[in-house]
Symmetry: C2
Subunit: 426 residues, 2 copies
């Protein structure tokens, strides 16, 4: 066994970073045995010194991240700062100085993964980022290694714990969105500014990363259709319940039936209570992967939090250190398939549409005609009268999203339709 330690620079010492530092210290012997050489924390870059970080060696703290990654003796840089800059510049500098990088930065990977992969490859180093998607749940490695001999057709799941916590609260307590958000904030599940989570940006970044790996195709954040969940109401949950359903924010990456294009999207969707994802509670994540030979696989676990994310970071750290010792690199970007990413209009999906309509003869015929005119076939329809109005619930068969949304627009223009709501359905 080599005795000269591998040197690790840690960028960021918040919830995840401090946990990484703690485990590297307390489990040093295990890491040494698993890597085949000792690893040493050589420096920790933070934005501000002064704050007490329990269990983190104070003498390693620096505010000069750039100088740290440029030191020249760093083997691996662990980036847990998040955000685009200065993370991007620091990672690039790390590559230039021969360091491999383990990152938990989903936003950066989704935005600029191709360039980062290219830079890593150019300098003969690794870029690993299991922690960027679904915390501790192994997803990146299974997709890019375990299923490397298979053809993935769909990745579908709950990849944002904050919104799942909020939706679960709304479902179980009947609370409205803002009330559930307040609870999530109070319990630390939502940040002070929850936009990235509730508007689906976080899930969309993860969908871009997962789609890219699953389909060997570059998928950028801009390629991902994104709908947040701020407009889901308590009434929507009540209506879903009547249909034996609940509402989840899903990330869905699909290969088209003809195999010639892919799509990636994030939106709330009604799913039957019998669907395994319906029982994913609180801030947990769960992802289905459907592959040609493997069939349907599911991965479930805590999708965020300091310890779970640190577990994923350290798993990557061990792999990257082993590669360093072997003078090799792990699998880099695999984008050879280069399939086009289709826009949302071409996605084949189903809608669940609730309409408030005038309760008089001919209305159902009028509504049904609109569906027919747009070539959208109806799966189930249910009408219930109340005080001169009627509630009409239609679940469609699968059709292109463009046809479905045009149908909804046309329905809204009918003078017999007083209002309505539509949801994606699975």
């Amino acid at each position: 066994m080599r005795t000269r330690p591998l040197k690790v620079a840690l960028l960021g010492c918040g919830v995840v970073g401090s946990e990484v530092a703690r485990i590297m210290t307390t489990h040093a012997d295990d890491l040494t045995a698993r890597i085949g050489a000792p690893v040493e924390l050589a420096g920790i870059a933070v934005r501000r010194t002064g704050r007490v970080r329990e269990g983190v060696p104070a003498e390693l703290i620096t505010t000069d991240a750039t100088a740290l990654v440029k030191r020249g003796d760093i083997d691996v840089v662990v980036e847990v700062i998040g955000g685009l800059e200065p993370a991007r510049a620091l990672i690039t500098t790390a590559f230039e100085h021969g360091a491999s990088v383990v990152s938990a930065n989903k936003a950066l990977l989704a935005e600029d993964g191709a360039a980062l992969h290219a830079a890593a490859e150019k300098h003969g180093v690794d870029l690993y980022y299991e922690a960027a998607v679904a915390g501790a749940i192994p997803l990146v490695r299974p997709l890019r290694e375990s299923l490397a001999g298979d053809k993935v057709n769909r990745v579908l799941g709950i990849v944002n714990g904050t919104t799942n916590f909020i939706l679960d609260k709304m479902d179980t307590s009947g609370a409205g969105y803002s009330e559930a958000l307040d609870e999530a904030t109070a319990l630390g599940y939502a940040e002070a500014d929850p936009t990235a989570d509730v508007e689906g940006f976080d899930a969309a970044a993860k969908a871009a990363i997962l789609a890219g790996i699953a389909f060997h195709t570059r998928v950028r954040l801009d390629d991902v259709h994104r709908e947040g969940m701020t407009e889901v109401t308590a009434a929507d949950f009540a209506s879903a319940k009547q249909m034996g359903c609940t509402i989840k924010l899903l990330a869905i990456c699909e290969r088209a039936a003809d195999g010639r294009s892919v799509t990636a999207r994030v939106h709330p969707a009604m799913i039957p209570l019998t669907h395994p994802l319906a029982s994913v509670r609180e801030a947990y994540n769960a992802v289905f992967v459907e592959a040609e030979a493997a069939g349907q696989l599911m991965f479930y676990g805590p999708g965020a939090g300091g310890s779970p994310t640190a577990s994923a970071v350290l798993g990557d750290l061990v792999a990257v250190c082993r590669n360093k010792l072997a003078g090799a690199t792990g699998p880099g970007e695999s984008a050879y398939a280069a399939l086009p990413v289709s826009p949302m209009g071409e996605v084949v999906t189903r809608y669940h549409i609730s309409l408030d309509v005038a309760d008089r003869p001919g209305v159902l015929a009028q509504v049904a005609t609109v569906f027919a005119e747009h070539g959208v076939s109806i799966d189930t329809v249910r009408q219930q009268g109340k005080d001169g109005e009627a509630a009409l619930v239609v679940v469609t068969h699968r059709a292109a999203d463009a046809a479905l949304s045009a149908t909804v627009e046309a329905l809204r223009r009918l003078d017999t339709v007083r209002g309505g709501r539509e949801h994606h359905a699975r």
Copy 2:
């Protein structure tokens, strides 16, 4: 990209082997892109020629497996024969001739993993075996790579599809064991001789492999306590149902609370219907992994079958080929922790005990005294009288298995106890 192909020898061409051959042919371009060089099927060893194998190139078929692995130009040997011999001799010969090995052979790995790992390491080649445990479900790679920076405390799950199919049938249809086994056999879920499955040998081999990887400790098949499921009756299911439970054959690998030893066992267990494993139906597999930092992860999918197993084999094939090209090897055996494997008596577990007792004063006191004398604490007790007899159901708190089984023996010796059944409970 290198254009000289990597040469693969396939040992065995049954359900899994023929699917491996088929995918290697139909998805050759994808495999080439993912590996970085073409892979070529150089030979397929079978026991008997003559049988028509659809889609398998006849000119590659040979009955001389030894000559095939000794050819000298083989880069990777894929072993899907199963059983101890000739698989062991062929794998060893492959290593000696510089070939890496991908195996789906759980029996051999559980029996002789340490020696095989040592041989692979000696010759600087890889031994991968994702397919040996739970078919297509990535478990070996997540445990030995994704969680390499974490401390696994428990692996618990359903790892045998045949027995899960039988138990699921018994649960949903009220059928007895032999009736459900007949159905499993007719549908191809059980082999003509189902012993390896129903007596728990298959699950025990997987438990040995999983425990070894999870705890960085050598665990042999003999170290695994094994109880089959042939004695589970329709009455047991009826009784479980009354308690809001079902019965599953579980493989359980645990680190002791003090961290100084590990245990591995396979036995039927009563689990609450609310437990996620209770809803694992038909021949599916599902495994929980509990790690210190990651928390609780679950992996679910098809645990057997030609295509899923081939998916796992091919994922390993890609990894092993990439290692070959890089002149490196992947993680080998990690047994540095070398923790003792405790016998079943020291396992801390719970029992669910049903007793038929005489319905007269003092019986409950007598029974309760037996528990107290053995230091076993009672969680719940339920008594129901019928025709001069009473059914007494006791669920214990957690205690050492030795104390629990001694309690059961002592209860059997009471003259007021006419009969009874006990099950492990979770």
